[in-house]
Symmetry: C2
Subunit: 179 residues, 2 copies
């Protein structure tokens, strides 16, 4: 599965919820999938064009001039299921924090401790955000068929944030003492 196919998953998936303009699609992906996925206009417009050419989405006239609302077609739903069943594609790791810490001897111990404190605070803030989101959505979406699946993606964020905070704590412990 090429990278662009995963963009198609995000776009087709969002369109299964409701027909949308490209602009709304980008908003939806940012606001709903934002914790684990992102797409830019530079990807969304060409992807929609390709999906239209293949008959997987249909273009409807929008509410205002020169505005298009995209609707997923039956062939688009079939395509989505096909793409969802392809193996998960990992993207290359790029963790700027670990890159800095790896060269920590060059950076200096105190500066590393600052980075770790920052990472810990960020992780705790993010965890609180996820907990709040979970509680909020449990009320709003708790009885929809999508809820168990949405919940799993938020749980992933909580577990990840908790692990990041614990890791930062452990590192701060081992990095203390004489410089």
């Amino acid at each position: 599965m090429s990278r662009s196919s995963q963009t198609q998953v995000a776009v087709l998936g969002a369109l299964t919820v409701e027909p949308m303009t490209a602009y709304a699609l980008r908003e939806a992906i940012r606001d709903v999938l934002g914790h684990f996925w992102s797409e830019s206009f530079g990807q969304i417009y060409p992807t929609l064009q390709a999906l239209e050419d293949e008959g997987h989405v249909r273009r409807q006239e929008g509410a205002r001039a020169r505005s298009s609302v995209f609707v997923i077609t039956p062939s688009g739903t079939a395509r989505l299921i096909e793409l969802l069943n392809e193996p998960v594609q990992e993207n290359p790791p790029r963790n700027g924090l670990l890159l800095r810490l790896f060269f920590g001897r060059v950076l200096g111990r105190e500066r590393c401790r600052e980075l770790l404190r920052g990472a810990k605070n960020a992780a705790e803030a993010q965890r609180a955000e996820y907990e709040q989101l979970l509680a909020h959505l449990a009320v709003a979406e708790g009885d929809t068929p999508d809820w168990p699946y949405i919940r799993m993606t938020i749980l992933a964020g909580i577990h990840h944030a908790r692990a990041a905070a614990a890791w930062a704590d452990e590192c701060l412990d081992t990095l203390q003492g004489e410089p």
Copy 2:
């Protein structure tokens, strides 16, 4: 800090260990930083050219024809310290597993459970690999000044893998029962 600057960090950092060819640089980055960083030839060669133009690395004749060994210069070390002190740059999230699970209703419950079992196995295997790497490097590098910093990056992998396995378990629990 642009992404290309972070490539410069990886390249200059690796060259602080020892002078290398571009090929060896790529090997070193893949083998040593591979758990949290990656660079391709398409990035390494232009980056080395740019660093040479700026005087941050020096090109030496290599062991064979048309082969160059790159050496970091004092200005290169200064540049590395400068880059390490710039704020960490996050790259946009792209988690193919969570993307699939989010649309789990379309994918089907049993297929989601398969994905989760796969994720759990992968996380446990990766954790075992990190534990082994940690034990191995503790012997080989345990008394070098770089060790505390290298250790932190491996610890991050262990915490992350542990969290991923726990998350997958929790999800499998909530996703069981009638289809």
